[in-house]
Structures are given as C-alpha cells and as structure tokens.
Symmetry: C2
Subunit: 766 residues, 2 copies
C-alpha cells in the first residue's frame, strides 16, 4: 500500500499495514482523461459538489438562517420554477413563429416559381435560402458557441449526473442555440427543435438561478441561496422538463421524460415543482395559439405543435391486430438499433473531420445543406402525378399553398404530387401529413419508399454537423414512413388506419433507438389525446425496446461514451462484485493527506503538484491517528488567497474564522493555484484547516465491493469517497485512498483489470 | 464508550479510546418499541433486508447463475407484472359488479317501499340491509383478518419504506379485504373502495411473488429468484399502482401515485414495469365495461368508474376566475388540515375503544352503520320538493330508478327531492350527481349544507371502524359539496360551471388532507379527460397543499405515527445536523461482536440474551483488529439448526460451506433461537462465521452527522449501519455501534436528546 511520502512530519510510518495482501496484481495506474466533448468543443470537465459540506462555517450559516430567510428561499424556488416555465414557453413560441414564417415564405416563393414552371430558378432560390440559413446557424455555432451544436441532451444528462460541462449553460450558448435552431430548422435540414428546446430550457433555468449571464450577474441577496450545485441541479431539471413540454405540448410527458431519461436524482418535491413549470409552459403555448388564431402571426398557423390529435376518432382494433402491431415493434427495435450502430460510425468519422478545424466544420454543415436541398427539390420529380380523390369532403386538392395534404407541384390541375407533399414542406407539416388518418390511398408505395430511404440517409448525415439539432424529429420522420409502408402492406388484413400505423412506426423507432418507454408513451398519449391507443402504443414500445436492447445501448448512451463524458450508470456491472475498492485504491496514485494544522508551504506544494480536488485531513498523536475529514481544493486556494495564516501551530476559535470567511466565499469556485502568490516568509506559517474541513465525508471500508460502493456513490451524489482501512492498529494511516467518479466508470476499471470482463458479464436484468 | 464485556478472549481492551469525549451527556438509553398497529392488530414489526448480503454463498450463487436463468428471471418479472395487472383488474371489476348490484337492488327495494308510502318499512329494510352488510364486513375483519381493516395504504407505505408488517399481504387478508370491501361499500357507509383496492393489488402482487398463500406455496424453481425483499418490494409497488389505476381508471395517475405517495425507492426500470401493469388493468376494465354494455351484468351500468368525463365540454375561464379558484384552494387547505386534526383525535379515541376487545370493535362498526342509515334515510325528509325543470332535454325527472339526478322520493309527480338524489344512492353515483355540469339550479343551498355537514361527521366517525375503508371517496364527497356551495355563492361573478367548482372543491380538499399533488392532478386529468382544466386544477392543488402544510402533516403521516410504524422520512430534520452517530451509539446498549471463528456456546448465549438482528464479526490479532463484516441473526440460527460445527478453531473451505448451505436456505426467515436445541458438548465446539458474513456492510465514521447518515441509510435501503471509530489506534474495537431504522426516527432521538428540539427546527423547505 502506498503512503504519501511527502509528509513533512514523521507521523505516518510508510511501512505499516503489511497485513494487507492485494488480491489482484497491480497492472498499471487507474487513470482517466479529464477531457470530454461538450457540443463540438473539447472541454476540461470536473465533478459537481452535491454533497453537503458540513464544516464549521456551513453549520454557522445554517444556524443563523432565520425563518424569514427559509420562506424567502421557498418563495424564490417557486418563483424561479414559474419563470423557467414562462420564459421557455415564450421562447418556444418565438422559435415556432420564426420557423413557420421563414420556412413558410420560402416555400411559397418556391411554389410560385414552380407554378411559373421556372424549375431551375425555384431550385436556385430554395438551395440558396437553405444555404444562407444553414450558414447563419453553423457560423454562430462554430465561432461563438461550439457547445450549442447538437441536441445538448447528453450533456444535460451528464450534468445532472454530476459532471460539470463548462460553457454549457451560458448566455451566449442560449442565444446561439435559439438563433441557430431557427436557422437550421427553417433551412429544411433533417433535424428537429425538440432537443435544442430541452437545452434552451436548461440554459434559461441555469441563468435565472445564477441571476444572469456570468459578466452581468444580479447580486441579489436572495439568489445566494441558489449558489450551490444542488439547487442548480433542481432548476436545470425543471428547465429540461419545460423544454420537452414546449416541444410536444405534453406537460406530463415532459415531467416523465426528465424523470426517466435526463435526471439522475429525483425527489418527490421536485416532481411537483417540475410539473408546475411544464403547466406554465402549456398555458403560455395555449395563450399564444389563441392569440395567433386572429391571424396576427403571419404563417404561424397551428404553431407547429399539435402533430396528431385523434381524440375524436374512435379507434377500433381486435385481438388479431396485435400481430401487425408486434411486427411494427420488432422491426422498430431492429431498425432502431441499426440506426444507433450506423450513426455511431458516422459520428466517429465526423469527429475526425470536426477536429480538423473550424473551416472543416463549416464546410461539412454546408455540404449537408446543399445535399438536402438537392434531394428535397429533385426527388419529387420522380413521383407520378396522382388524380385527386373528389370524394374527400374537406380536402383542398390540389393545393398550392404551403399547407395541405395534396400538393400540386409540377402536376396538372386535378392531380397532385404525393412526394412533394412530404418533401417540399416543413418537417412538422410532413409529420402531420404522413400521420393523417382516413387517407388510405393518398401515398404511392414508391413515394413512401423514396421518402423513407432519403430520411434514413439524411438522418444519419445531418445529426453530427455543427448546428443545433434534435434527434426526435428525424426518427419520427423515418419511423412514420416505415410504419405507413407496413400499414399499406398489411392493408387487407387489418382494421387499423394507416395513419395510426405511421404513429406506431414512429413510436417503435424512437423506442428502438432512444429506449425510453414511459415518457414516450405519455408523450404519444398527449399528442394523440386518445386513451384508447394506450395499450397498443405500450406493446409496440415494449417490444421495440426489448429487441433494441439485445443489440446495443441507447443512442444517448452511445453519444455519452463517444463524447467521453463520465456518466455513472444506475446499475453497477455484475463483475463489479468481484473487485473491492481496496483493489482500486492500490492502482491509484497514493493519497495525499494534510495535517489538521498544516504548513502553508506544504499546502502550496500539494496544490501545485497534484490535480486532486479533495484532501483528507488527519490529526496525529502518538499511537493514534484521527480522520478529521476532507478539505476541498477550492477552499485551500481561498485560504491562500485571503492569506489566513497563523504564526504558530494552534487551533483557531470559531469567531476568527467567521470574521474572515462567509459561506458565500466557500461557494465560489474556479480559482487556480497559479493565481495565488505566497511569499517565502509566509511559506513557513501555518493554517488551521479544521474549520474549513468537511467533517462528515462519506466513507467505505476497503473490503467493500465496487458494486456496492458505486450504489452509495451514485445514490447519495458524491464527489469524493474516502476508503478506510479495515484494520484497526497503531500507526495506520486512517485513509487508504479516495475514489472519484472517474474511478468508478466501468471502462476505466476494465482498462486496469481486463480479466474482470471475462467473468460473468450479464446484467441481472432491468 | 461501551465495549462488549462478554468477550471470551482478552483481545479487546475495554479501557482504550479515552481520546473520545462525548459531546452530549448521556441521558438514558435510546430504545424503541418493536410494536405497531397493522390494520387494527398490534403486531411485532421488523425491518426488511434490502441490502445485498455479499457473503461467500451469495457470490457463489450469483456466479453460477447462467444466462438462461437471467432470462428466466426477466421473463418472470414481466409475467408477474402482467398477472398483477390482470388479477387486480378482474377483482376490481368483480367488486364493482357486486357493489353495484347489491347496493342497486337494495335501493330499488327502498324506492319501492317509498312509492307505496310505507316509509317505516322502507327504513327498516334499508337499515337492516346495511346492518347485515356491515356485520359481514366487520365480523370478517375482527375475527379473521384484523390487518384488512382500514385503507392499508399507510402499512404499504411503511412496508415499501422497509418495515415488515406481518400478516399484511396474506391470502386471508386478501379475501377478507375483497368481501369486506364489498360489504362495507354496499352498506352505504361513508367510505370508498379506492384504498382497499390499493391493498388488494399489493396482496395479489405479494402472493404471486411467493407462489401462493403461505401454506400452499408453489415450489416452482423459478420463483426462488423472488424470495428476497428487494424483488418483493418491486412487485408490491406494481400492485399498489394497479390498485390506484383500478380505482380511478387512471393508468398514469396510478403510476405517479405509487411514485409520489407510496414508494420510497424507485428506479426507472420499475417505472416502466409499473406502467405495464396499470395498462393491463385499464384493458381489463375496458373489456369488462364493453361486455357489460350488453346488459348481462345486472345493474353494473357504468361500473362505478368514470366519475366525470368532460372531454367534450369546452371549458372557458378568464383571468378574473382565478380569484374564486384561489379561494377554493385556501379553503380546501384549511378544511383539509382541520379534517386531519379532528380525525387524529377521533382515531385516538377509537384506538382506546378498539383495544378493549373484539366485541367493542364490532359494536362500534355497527353503531356507525345504524347512525349512517338513520341519517341517509331520514334527512331527505327535511328537504323541500323542487319542481322539475322541463327545459332540460335528456334528464328523466323525477326518476324512480336507482340512477338519475332527480329522484322523486317522497315528492309528488313533477317534483324531485334533491337531497334524496345525493343521499339515497351509492357514493359513486352521489359524486357523479354533484359533479354534473349544466345543472346550476338542481340543488338547494340548504340541501348541500345538510349534505356537507352530514358527510363531515360521517367521514370522521366512519374511517376508524374495523372494516376495509378508503379515504379518497369521503374526502371527495365532502370537497365536492363545499365546492358546489362555493360555486352557488360565486354564481353571479364567475363563468365556471358549478360542476367544475365541485370537482375543484374535491381536489382542493384532497390536496389539503393528503398533500399529494402531481398524482392527484393527473388522476383528475384522467378522470375529466380535459387538458384545459389542468392549469386551474394545479393552482388549486398547489394552494391547498401549501396552506395545509402550514398546520399539520398529511393524513397518511398522521396515521403512520399513530400506528407507531417507524417510517423513515426522505428529509432529515434540520437539528439532525447537530448530533453525530457517535452520540447515538453512546446511548445505545453496547454493541455485541462475534469473532470470525466463534464458540457455539457464545453464539447461543448472544442470540438468547439480545434481540439484535445483526452482529459485527471481528478478527483479532495482537495489536490489530480487523472488521470482517456483519452476520445476520437468521443465518446464525440456520448454522445452529444445521449443526454445522467444527471441533477445532479453523477456517473452512468454500466447498464445505457449499455442501451444507444453499442461497435458498439463506433467504429463509422467521426461525427463532427457541427452536434450536444444542447439546452441552456442542456448546464447546466452534463455528466458522466467515463464509456466512456479509463482508461489505455499509459503514459510517462516528463523527458523521445523523442527517447525512440518515440520507445514506434511506437512499441505499439499509437495515443495519455500522459505526466505525474515527481513531486509528492499537486495540480499538473496530465497531463503535450499529444503527437501525428505529435509532434514526426523529421521535426516538428527541426522547433522549430533548434539547435538540429547541435548536433551529425549521425545515429548509420541501
């Protein structure tokens, strides 16, 4: 066992504890990269401090908090939840307004050119507009906020799991995400605004919690209660639920999405606050739609929101219909896992391209935009014109506006181009068209096949480019096409409407790729507003998820691993029962301990030479060592900055500390040892670490299995876990090692103990 | 600090560790009662073992589990979830069928007597029928299954929190609960079938998980995977969700109810399985209703299910309507907390009566039944007959059947008795009538006042009697009456329908009394099937809960405390930061340790003289003690029973253990030391405890604050938590104490350290 050998005293005997025989030979050091990709930017990641730091100052602060302050805190918590909902709702409305108008007028111009049979001019206009819109989005993302690229959901997931992702929730990111999302969606790229809305909601929550952007923070006294990682975590959970709710207008679905997919820790009090936020979002969205009915919102229309309301439709199905439903589920699972696999490969290639520099990122995005324009405009010419069905009462056929299920495009009067209906429109309208019910003969099989293949390709190549992009819509588009195809194939044998097949197809592919279940089910329930669909939706989701799980993990897990974000899983791997935390401590660098009253010079030395963020504080006497607790790097730097030094080795009084430090000081983070200047005289002085030490760190005994240690680490939300020796003897250093998040990541452990993988590796099931 | 002084060796020096100075003077011993009231029966409670017992045998069992067995386990888990949903749905349908028919025919007879103006005969028949039905329910509950009385929800909550409540989930309890619930509800008592359905769902789940009733268990090999507290916990969570779903036909609401109110631990995998169960319940209920539409179910009608479907109604309200809505919320909170307070007092009195014996229990129930009959039959005579409003198109007025909003009762033709509509009917129909919309002038204010006052009284006196009773319906009845009254009072100033006022009143009183929010909101959403109602429902619930929380805890918490169930709260009390686990250990009886290889005599002595369920196992050498782990009482008894003794002090090999014990043996519980006979010779032999010891118990250092220790205890789901000394020195016994659930209950700590209460006692908010 390694002992710190830089001790300034001879209190610790490095030769003790020879009782301990490591079970496993040390292969190499358990090390891990502190780098991860946030958005498209490589960042230095840290862990968050969710643990309550029970030092003397914290206790003092907490004791002095009056009843009024507690009420202020509660009031502010609810006010912030309200504001998160309100702002998310307003911004979602503005995004929808902008997208519907920009894309709408663009399409109207294109239609006008086509009516005049100026096909080439139409293409030039469309491709040009799309190019410019993509350019705006990509330039913003590449040059101003690389963290705004992509959906943001994996990073939020990691943040709520305890990984600090820098620049993820800033004001620049928020603005770039909003404008970039408008640009990218209006440009007709195969991506959605759903993922970005989740990120936008989280950004709003984070900014509100800290009182504004970093450089212009409101220094409101009340807000200091929120200057900690725990309350920020709760706020961002609220924000992400609000985002999902704004995307799908599904308040319960939004809450469950955050609960099932995004959040790691959850309390029932949070459930209610989150629900409050999403309800505010729904009220805002409804108010906006109510207002826009008057026609003051340009082409806003239904606001790109209700995708499929079948509350009035009576859904009828029989036991025999369960067979096609099961087929949809199986295929959805297979396709979903295949999609995950191919997308993984594409993203690897894209990572290589993106790493080459900003210009490469930009060119990649623009190429995808041009390819998309070519396909969307060119492919409808392959479709045959179909005669309008005059028996349908309410449909305009052919339509020349931007709406409608039967677009005329290049066809003569009385005919429509079904592929143009699907391609020359916004993605939201395409989903609405393909979901539409009682339209069994609207789409040609060939058109649907072309649509499906095209969106498979676009879905794979679009996701990784440097613009804000969501995964929901591409998957819904793919899934609905294959569902409808299946519906046509099953036509004679089933009573289920083809529109419902499209919905089920979309659901199955989402379950097959994202592996969410309850939240998807509720989101689809709220979209369709029809409880009768619940049982078959559940069946499809269950089958698709089960099939998908046989092949690979969910797309978010794949992205998390690809980005190198150290996400702690809920369930330990089974082989983790075969290894103890003591074994892990053996392959880590020696733990660096500090004395309760420590020399300034040693503190500076330790902070300079290590990258650890926590140091055990040990008081020693003859024959007995006492573990006092754990002190954080940030607090040590604070002491050095404030030069709170003693000329002699002595314990300080409580008032001495309180005169110098406040709990607000302790909440500050981000200072580095390089910013600190300590003179040579000061190096010989002392610091009393006792009042700044967290006296109640969570600990495990070295014989604890990694599996159970990980449960503790994750359930309680730790940053550092101290390992205690299982031997009680004189002179033993009371801390064997310190484990952090990175040490418990399966991948990192396996790189040191590869033989563990060969032991039984099947999970006990979900 | 106390050291075990019964050690058979001189390895532990009782005089060491004088470094430690307890901060708080010892007042008296931290003790707690192992008794609690389950249903109406005083039972001996224990804790459940959720922690994975990582001893050699468990590791062996887990390693030998093949991939096929893992798949069997997963398949069985889903099959059980399906069966729980199926059976709960079927039983709920049967209960509804029985109640609607029994109560329906009873009421038809009463109406017939009244038509013939044989009022006294009508009363005699009704009171007699109610008396007999109550008698059946009460006799069953008093003599066969006292645990079936009451709603069962507090006990389920405690079980899922880790408290074993004996006889709670047996076959007798299930049958008594079903028949008793039918009897009590048909008897017209002011109670619902909602709470009992939750209990029934949980019973079904538990019985399925263990393969049948205790004496007739199926010994199916697969089922042995479920012979542990963790899987049983998950199953019972499924069962309770199914129960709520069956009560309200609200699948999402059922899941959220279990999540918010009942369950303590929750995993996202469980979310999905629970949802699956509730969906099955919904399918069964719908199928039953579909079938009963043909008229084969007697008076089943709408099956007592949909209470208020307003999906077709367009709800309109303006900003100014928020004022009455807020008033409803405030009043609901006040009334709810008042109800909690008075019910608490009533239950205390009832406890005294119930303790006097079975006859007293029976007489109490029957008195309540007679009082109820007198009121329900007599009070309508006080109401004035009201003329029928002929402008209403679809209503039969006056009606003489059991249904209908306008009952004729004692009135002449063309007139109806509004109080009879509300009282001479089943509780479900009463709710439907009072919820009905577009009937602004149906009810006289005086009738509503009488109804409200009557149900306030009945709600208080009925709940504690020895029959299966739910809290939901009484509160809905009270709340709807006061909501409708408020609606009439607000009439001229508001556009909201009086039926909606009744719904909001019911919601507010439930929130004011039960303090649930999200699940109530979703249940009401699913009942009303109208998303437009969501914002005002939320507002009402939020206000009512907040107001109620100012006065007292939720009704379930009150009942839990009254019953003496040691429920561990999610949030530690603030004063728990001021006390360490070491302080608690000081006021507990000394920890009793065992050696790794221990004398049989000492084991017998320890088991006989203590009631502890876990014993630390410590290996000692000169100058060093090693904590090997924790051994459970059940496993020690197993060793004694199997007489697995050694003639010499030696470590055993793995195969020796595996020959003697299987992991199934280790899962058995309930044996007592009195059943074991050990001869005098055997007393001198040895047992190797190492292979049976859980080598990875969770531990805390003695300086840990109780607040943080409690977070660990609850989050990880422990039964025993070992306290380690913070000093590392020669000869120190490596375990300072063991904490159990009872030691962390606020009430128990305060009885020893009363001064803590006086320190800042405000919670940091929800």
């Amino acid at each position: 066992m390694d002992r710190p050998d830089e001790e300034d005293d001879d209190q610790f005997d490095p030769e003790t504890n020879n009782l301990h025989q490591p079970l496993l030979k040390r292969n190499r050091t358990l090390s891990s990269s502190p780098l991860a990709i946030v958005g498209t930017k490589v960042s230095h990641i840290e862990s968050l401090d969710y643990e309550i730091n029970e030092n003397d100052l914290f206790k003092q602060d907490w004791r002095s908090r009056s009843r009024v302050q507690v009420l202020q805190y509660i009031f502010l918590k609810w006010l912030l939840a309200f504001l998160v909902g309100l702002l998310t709702g307003v911004i979602a409305t503005l995004i929808n307004l902008a997208v519907e108008n920009i894309a709408g007028y663009k399409l109207l111009w294109v239609v006008k050119y086509i009516e005049q049979e100026r096909y080439l001019m139409g293409f030039a206009f469309m491709a040009g507009a799309n190019f410019v819109l993509t350019l705006v989005a990509a330039v913003l993302c590449v040059f101003f906020a690389p963290t705004a690229a992509g959906p943001g959901i994996p990073e939020i997931k990691a943040y709520l799991n305890g990984v600090d992702t820098p620049d993820m929730f800033g004001a620049t990111t928020l603005i770039v995400k909003i404008i970039g999302s408008i640009g990218a969606v209006s440009a007709g790229l195969d991506l959605g605004k759903e993922g970005p809305l989740v990120h936008i909601g989280s950004c709003i929550a984070s900014l509100l919690g800290q009182g504004g952007p970093d450089s212009y923070r409101i220094k409101w006294r009340w807000l200091r209660y929120f200057n900690n990682d725990r309350d920020r975590r709760d706020l961002i959970t609220c924000g992400s639920s609000s985002g999902v709710c704004a995307a799908f207008r599904a308040p319960v679905g939004g809450v469950l999405f955050a609960l099932e997919e995004v959040a790691t820790w959850w309390r029932s009090a949070l459930l209610w606050r989150t629900f409050f936020s999403t309800a505010v979002v729904v009220v805002v969205l409804r108010a906006a739609m109510e207002y826009c009915k008057t026609g003051d919102c340009g082409l806003f229309g239904k606001g790109g929101l209700i995708m499929f309301d079948v509350s009035g439709v009576s859904v009828r199905y029989h036991a025999v219909d369960l067979i096609p439903v099961a087929v949809i589920g199986v295929l959805g699972g297979l396709l979903g896992s295949l999609y995950n696999y191919v997308l993984h490969q594409v993203l690897k290639v894209y990572n290589v391209i993106n790493k080459k520099g900003k210009l490469h990122k930009l060119l990649l995005s623009l190429s995808v935009s041009i390819f998309t324009s070519v396909c969307l405009y060119g492919l409808p010419f392959l479709a045959q014109c179909r005669p309008c069905d005059t028996s349908l009462p309410n449909a305009t056929c052919p339509s020349t506006g931007r709406d409608g299920n039967f677009k005329q495009f290049n066809c003569p009067k009385g005919y429509y181009n079904d592929l143009a209906t699907l391609l020359l429109t916004t993605n939201d309208d395409a989903v609405r068209s393909i979901f539409s019910i009682n339209t069994p003969n609207e789409y040609n099989i060939l058109s649907l096949v072309i649509f499906f293949v095209l969106y498979c390709i676009l879905g794979l190549i679009t996701f990784g480019i440097a613009v804000p992009s969501g995964l929901f819509l591409p998957i819904i588009l793919m899934g609905s096409a294959y569902g409808r195809l299946l519906g046509i194939a099953m036509g004679p044998y089933t009573k289920i409407d083809q529109g419902l097949y499209a919905v089920l197809g979309a659901a199955s592919l989402m379950a097959g790729s994202m592996r969410m279940t309850v939240s998807l089910c509720v989101i689809f329930l709220e979209l369709t507003n029809n409880l009768l669909l619940l049982p078959i939706t559940m069946l499809v989701l269950l089958i698709a998820k089960t099939v998908g799980d046989c092949f690979n993990p969910s797309i978010y897990e794949i992205i998390l691993e690809l980005k190198g974000l150290p996400f702690l899983d809920a369930h330990p791997e089974p082989w983790m029962r075969n290894i103890t935390v003591g074994d892990l401590a053996d392959v880590k660098p020696a733990v660096v301990g500090l004395s309760g009253i420590e020399k300034v010079g040693r503190i500076v030395e330790v902070l300079t030479n290590t990258t650890h963020n926590g140091f055990p504080v040990v008081d020693s006497a003859v024959g007995a060592n006492e573990l006092h607790g754990l002190v954080l790097r940030a607090h040590l730097i604070l002491v050095l900055k404030k030069k709170w030094f003693l000329t002699e080795r002595r314990r300080t009084d409580e008032w001495e500390v309180r005169e110098e430090f406040t709990s607000i000081d302790l909440a500050e983070r981000g200072a580095t040892i390089q910013e600190v200047a300590v003179s040579k005289d000061e190096m010989e002085m002392y610091v009393d670490l006792h009042p700044l030490t967290n006296t109640t760190p969570y600990t495990v005994v070295e014989s604890m299995s990694v599996a159970k240690a990980m449960v503790l680490f994750r359930q309680v939300g730790l940053r550092h876990m101290l390992i205690l020796p299982k031997y009680q003897a004189a002179g033993v250093f009371p801390v064997v090692g310190i484990l952090t998040r990175q040490d418990l990541i399966a991948h990192n452990i396996l790189s040191v103990f590869p033989h563990l993988k060969r032991s039984k590796g099947t999970k006990k099931g979900n």
